[in-house]
Amino acid sequence: MNNTNDPIIRLIEVSKRYGKFEALKEIDLDVRKGERIVVCGPSGSGKSTLIRCINRMEEHTSGQIIINGHELTDKTKDIDAVRSEIGMVFQSFNLFPHMTILKNLTIAQRLVRKTPKAEARDTAMHYLGRVKIPEQANKYPIQLSGGQQQRVAIARALCMKPQIMLFDEPTSALDPEMISEVLDVMVDLASDGMTMLCVTHEMGFARSVADRVIFMDHGQLIEQAEPETFFNHPQHERTALFLRQILRH
């Protein structure tokens, strides 16, 4: 079932409705293993909805979503197992405030993977090292800066050794001086061959890291291309307009 050439994520005519409102309209998308994709588009265009359907935080209304050869449906028995293979990083960090940084990184390993305590701890310290804040292990989230908290959130997702990482505007809630420390971690991750789907408006990141940039508007996937083509020769007027708006600043 799992041919190496098969896409790790495959969306076929995926639609999502909230009542009468269509947040996603027949999205087709294939993501190969190790591919790095940046999703952009105006606010309300359905970027978060798209990402959240992939780990079934939202249930799509029609179409097919196939992750690693397994289709996500109502009948998907172990949705928790699927989710544990897909890391997700949120705009608002969402660290567990009542747990130390170390506990934030070990809790899912312990509960979901049943990893022994010492091993979970070693894994946690390894990834804290990778996001360059091993010295914060015994602090609580509130004692860290926003940039540090987001790096912890990335490390927390990595501790599950996921095959896919989803990012939903990971730098949008950060003060400007903290954005680059988080982007650096993401660049590092990309160079490691992680399959990544990032919603972001950091166009510098998109240019240097993305294999493909996707533009969404009104729930539709309007255009996708490699960064060079995407930024210099957008095919659609809506894409060009959007790029003019965000690159003006």
Binding site: M57, A81, S84, F90, N94, F96, A108, L111, I142
Partner: protein, 227 residues
């Protein structure tokens, strides 16, 4: 009326501490368990569980505790099947009746308090837990519950204090708690004013101690989660 009589009275009333705090501790423990069960029923998302829990809350909130105590103590023994049931050993005893009435009340109020706490937990944290693959019951145990408890603590403390005062109602069904003893002393000495003022001071003191303890616990649990 001398200071000596008041001191004697206070010492005698303090003999009721065991019963007063027995009522408080037991009904708080049993009531809190009932509260958790009611809470789980209410947030289960199944109407046949959440409606009965809601009805329970309306009944107990809508009636005076004193009336509930009377129903349980004077009313229930009229039914033969209750006197024949395993509950009779509890319900024949005024202490047991008081515990039952107080626990049922605590259950109703505390479940509402916990529910408020549960609803105020940031949904983003639960999403983060879900995205890590943590199952729904485990998210409740490891994320929702600890945070909801912290949030509920001040209201829970107030409930403990009002429960302390409600235990005085048990004296109406012959229990010799602090209030029950005070009433006996008043009948002997005909000095209601001094005796009841002394009793009031004792309650105020205990309330103060409970309040301090709750405050301290709050500060301790919240030391890294103040937002």
């Amino acid at each position: 009326m001398s200071v000596g009589i008041i001191m004697d009275a206070i010492l005698r009333m303090l003999h009721g501490i065991g019963i007063t705090f027995g009522l408080l501790g037991l009904s708080l423990a049993i009531g809190s368990i009932i509260a958790v069960l009611l809470l789980l029923m209410r947030i289960s998302g199944r109407w046949w569980l959440s409606w009965p829990a809601q009805l329970y809350f309306y009944i107990f909130r809508g009636t005076p505790i004193l009336v509930q105590i009377f129903i349980i103590y004077y009313g229930l023994p009229q039914f033969d099947w209750i006197r024949d049931s395993m509950f009779w050993s509890v319900l024949r005893d005024p202490f047991g009746c008081a515990i039952v009435a107080l626990s049922l009340n605590v259950g109703a109020y505390v479940s509402e308090i916990f529910r408020g706490g549960v609803l105020s937990v940031d949904k983003g944290l639960l999403e983060a837990g879900a995205a890590l693959g943590i199952s729904t019951p485990q998210r409740f145990i490891y994320i929702t519950a600890p945070l909801a408890i912290r949030i509920s603590l001040p209201a829970y403390g107030n409930e403990i204090i009002s429960l302390l005062k409600s235990t005085a109602l048990a004296s109406t069904i012959t229990l010799a708690d602090m209030t029950g003893i005070a009433r006996t002393i008043v009948a002997e000495t005909f000095a209601p004013y001094q005796i009841f003022i002394s009793l009031a001071l004792i309650y105020v003191t205990f309330t103060w101690i409970i309040q301090r303890t709750i405050r301290w616990t709050e500060g301790y649990l919240g030391r890294f989660t103040i937002r």
